[in-house]
Symmetry: C2
Subunit: 451 residues, 2 copies
Amino acid sequence: MNGQDLIFTLKTIALSKDRLEMQQLLQQCHPADIGAVLGAFELEQVCLLLALTPAAARAELFGYIDKDKEADIVRALDNQAVSELFLHMSPDERADLFNVLSEEDQAKVLPGLAQAEREDIRRLASFDEDKTGSVMTSDYALLDQQLTAAQGIARLRKVAPDKETIYQAYIVDADRRLLGTVSLRQLIMAEPEQLICDFMQREPIFVSADAPREIAAQLISKYDLLALPVINGGDKLVGIVTYDDAMDVASEEADQDFHKTGAVGQVLGSIKDASVKMLYQKRVFWLVLLVFGNIFSGAGIAYFEDTIAAYVALVFFLPLLVDSGGNAGSQSATLMVRALATGEIVLKDWASMLGREFIVAGLLGLTMAAAVSVLGIWRGGPEIALVVALTMQLVVIIGSVIGMSLPFILSRFKLDPAAASAPLITSIADACGVLIYFGMATWLLDLPVTG
Amino acid sequence: MNGQDLIFTLKTIALSKDRLEMQQLLQQCHPADIGAVLGAFELEQVCLLLALTPAAARAELFGYIDKDKEADIVRALDNQAVSELFLHMSPDERADLFNVLSEEDQAKVLPGLAQAEREDIRRLASFDEDKTGSVMTSDYALLDQQLTAAQGIARLRKVAPDKETIYQAYIVDADRRLLGTVSLRQLIMAEPEQLICDFMQREPIFVSADAPREIAAQLISKYDLLALPVINGGDKLVGIVTYDDAMDVASEEADQDFHKTGAVGQVLGSIKDASVKMLYQKRVFWLVLLVFGNIFSGAGIAYFEDTIAAYVALVFFLPLLVDSGGNAGSQSATLMVRALATGEIVLKDWASMLGREFIVAGLLGLTMAAAVSVLGIWRGGPEIALVVALTMQLVVIIGSVIGMSLPFILSRFKLDPAAASAPLITSIADACGVLIYFGMATWLLDLPVTG
């Protein structure tokens, strides 16, 4: 059943208030499918749907709902229902939800939980949402290195219901320092009597809880891990990041970079459900900033007013020349932003990339100068064509170098390289283009300049 | 040891030709780390490194090397080494490598392999690289539904060395139609005597081998799967896609979309190693196309030559007005391209998004018109300010609607929505902006138009 059909069926049943039919439908569907369509329902209907879902499945379903919507639902539920929900949720999702609740709602949740769980929530919720600590879970399986493979499997079998994964288990010392990892595959393939310490993976790949969450996602992707151990303060094992959370992180980071280079602020939740107000807020900042950024190109044009009045044909090529610098620059920026985001290049690669950028931009400029000089001769004669071609060559090189360097500069000052958006580069390249164009025209066409 | 250090150490050892030291170093490092730095080595050195790596590890290492470099290496190896390498590689990577070989090199590989493996390679290599079939593996574990849980585990233990994963196993009927899946976690948690058919997951989520590979990646991400069964012709199980391959697909697709909307063609391999020639080729197409796209705005400007000569102040605002339409448009396009890529919105959502886009663009246009009219009064007086403000309002709305619709239109004609790049939208918005601006100026400032 596709999304539209599911929404329709659920709404029809919700109207008829046939609880039994609703329960059957909810049992047939995957929680991910139901979670994906819950945005189409009123809060009251969502609460009814949740009430009809068994407690354990309810917690799973909750994991697929947008965070801001979750907070509304918690507010609508009574204390007992909230505590029960928290009890069944996985530690990382529980902590995320806790973080979006108001202080009042947080106070509603905590009393219903055991001491250990309260501490777990407080600890996980204490990490910034861009840190690895915020995406880790504390439900990982520990094994003793002196156990045999068979004993290890028996132990995992026992703890499986409470653990996020039993395919990776962790071996720690008395101070909870990480000694090694062992996979269920290794346990199964080993001789039953073999000791875990004889075949466990020592010096496993790990990440610090304070590391940016995209680092954790990159490590999991690079080394094809199922789960990555997270350590904190004094090398203590504090959690694991699982591959499915890493996939979500990678996808969210790609979304953010994509939106930023497109000069749109971070859009939370589904674009389909985004309000006019939110979209306006996410977009207006850059657009208005660029209006004022254009004061510089406007001032440049004003300075060369006489040149323009004498050669109106110069104006024909103005949009093209300013666009070309911006376009070449945003191409360079695009390549760098993505390569910096995926960790393919780092800050110190700038100098070595710069030389190649000059050559590539020089060749691109030459090609475009040739193309535009054809238009120039046709529209304005050989003199205009020369000015236009020389300007084109220069703006493409300058635009490319700016576009290539800006992500590195932002990165250097600990800003997000993705903020080097196409419109920002366009705006800078515009001002340069105007100055070069009319400056060169005034010089080559031998005209006086007004003050 | 970080990348730079590893390259340095490997090169030093390679020079000294101390094979033992090299072997030790290769054993200590993760294949992913070695694969990531191989780009810095000459072909000859790479072959030496591979020769010093044990056969099984060599195949694993090979999985981390860029595809085009792999082909060069295969060419440099003798027949026996190539056959041995193919024997140890996983089916999906083997098929990918086979696809980049020349016909001559393909002929070199096949004779050394068993009949079943030759057929497997031919089948996997027959899928287009953007289809699910090209990223699936045929090394999955099958179980009989009449086995008990304990028998199932024993069976998985036996086949583990040859299977990509044993955490998911598949149950098929006599015609190889998929009946269900069972996870190793379920097998471990079940009572040893329980029959698999009593607890296996029936009607599992699957994908067709012909489906675009990003659909497989989306399903794995949405349902948090470890592996997704792939079916083909008559519902037969033909392979599985594992989560690590899905992560690579998602990352490559994000890269491609990113590069395309930035008007850069698809860059293969590492940006760091990309040649000047390749970068030139990837970028020149769009830039030159846009030079000719600008013929339209140039022609528009030529048509209004008299207006411009009479009011040179109009030119001050020309770069700003044409940029604003393009910027607003590329913002809208960015949001739509990413939402279409992640499957968040589909083709038929266009009409419902259009209404909201009109309202958002109207409000953005109003804000920017207010901002620019301040500049307009300062630079050119109230009449010019009115023309500039009205033009701004119109170009932002028109740019936004074009930017928002273009990805849908491309998608409708089975083209990649990401091709709706910022420069393309800028170019279209430019031509509209010029016509609206000078048309409105000529009309409002009461001027005759030349032919």
